[in-house]
């Protein structure tokens, strides 16, 4: 297991996703400030009607994008700080939500929509948060790669009801149950998932009740 390479690759993917999205945020702010300049220039000749409305619309868009940028940088900052402690008490569902908020673009590019199913009884476990996030990300990648849908696909993430575990489920697979298991265990990411889980004291299993992967906290 090339742990260092896997960590670097994971950090690379997360930061690339966030910075790409930040570029879009900045591009929208830049275009809207440019549009405001255009309006003001035209207005110097007195040709522009409803300038207040036009400028107001640009300001509203800039404000919205500034908030989007704050969310992205806060998310990235929170992610980076999950490396501060090798083991800590973590609300599993919250941590997954934060990870998805900064990485969903990666999966959206592949037409995959990720939903997190709220739990009635969310719980915390003492784990290495970075390892858990790497495992979660790999589980999603493994499912996306294993099932490669032609159109849009969906992955649900939910806490298990009867044990300390989280499940990553691929919705609406057209594969037979026997075939899907083969697909997952022959995917290159599966080996990484099981290896990381062994190091972090988690256990990875093929979901017994659906097309997915179950991560059990031991």
């Amino acid at each position: 297991m090339e742990n260092r390479n896997d960590k670097t690759a994971f950090f690379g993917k997360v930061t690339a996703s966030v910075t790409h999205e930040m570029q879009n945020v900045l591009a929208i702010i830049k275009e809207n400030s440019g549009l405001m300049e255009d309006f003001l220039l035209i207005n110097q000749t007195g040709d522009l009607s409803d300038i207040e409305e036009k400028l107001g619309k640009c300001i509203k868009t800039i404000k919205k994008q500034a908030y989007r940028g704050v969310d992205l940088t806060s998310g990235l900052n929170g992610f980076v700080h999950t490396t501060d402690n090798a083991r800590m008490s973590v609300n599993i569902l919250d941590l997954v939500k934060k990870l998805i908020s900064i990485t969903e673009r990666i999966f959206r590019q592949k037409n995959v929509n990720i939903s997190i199913i709220e739990s009635e009884k969310p719980y915390s476990v003492i784990i290495d948060p970075l390892f858990f996030q790497m495992v979660s990300f790999l589980c999603i990648e493994c499912l996306v790669e294993s099932f490669e849908a032609d159109g849009a696909a969906a992955i649900d993430i939910r806490l298990s009801n009867n044990q300390a575990a989280i499940e990553f489920l691929y919705a609406d697979s057209i594969l037979k149950y026997e075939d899907y298991k083969e697909k997952i265990i022959h995917n290159a990411q599966w080996l990484k998932i099981t290896d990381l889980c062994r190091q972090a004291n988690f256990k990875a299993e093929i979901s017994p009740g659906g097309f997915g992967i179950l991560i059990i906290f031991e």
């Binding site: 690339a16 910075t19 790409h20 570029q23 879009n24 900045l26 591009a27 929208i28 702010i29 830049k30 275009e31 809207n32 440019g34 549009l35 255009d38 035209i42 640009c58 868009t61 919205k64 994008q65 959206r108 590019q109 592949k110 037409n111 849009a152």
Partner: protein
């Protein structure tokens, strides 16, 4: 300026709509599409002089969209938009047949310059 029709394809709606408005203030006629599939659909039904295409889009990505655009209209100049650090994709796009590529955030004057160059080249070609 004669009506120059520009097709803008980008999944960031607020970016593409603002850019369209800025191009229109400069005398261009712009239409927008929020993904590759819609852009290709518009291209099949309408005539455009230039297409501006974002490389990072969900579903049909920029390079795949470019290939399909070139299959419909080989001569249509396509200017690609890419993020910093993705110049490799921009170069790959040019290999497939894009006229040029620009980095986001854009400079409107630079974009207009590229559009004019693309139109000049096409009129001579």
């Amino acid at each position: 300026m004669d009506n120059i029709n520009i097709l803008l394809i980008d999944d960031e709606s607020e970016f593409v709509e603002t850019l369209a408005e800025r191009l229109e203030l400069r005398g261009y006629v712009s239409k927008t599409a929020g993904d590759g599939e819609s852009g290709i659909g518009m291209l099949a039904n309408e005539s455009f002089d230039v297409a501006i295409l974002d490389l990072m889009m969900p579903g049909l990505n920029g390079l795949e969209t470019l290939k399909q655009i070139k299959a419909i209209d080989k001569t249509l100049p396509v200017i690609l938009l890419t993020g910093h650090g993705s110049t490799r994709d921009g170069m790959e796009g040019m290999r497939i047949g894009a006229f040029d590529f620009l980095m986001k955030p854009l400079d409107i004057d630079e974009l207009i310059g590229k559009i004019k160059l693309a139109l000049n080249k096409q009129s001579k070609g």
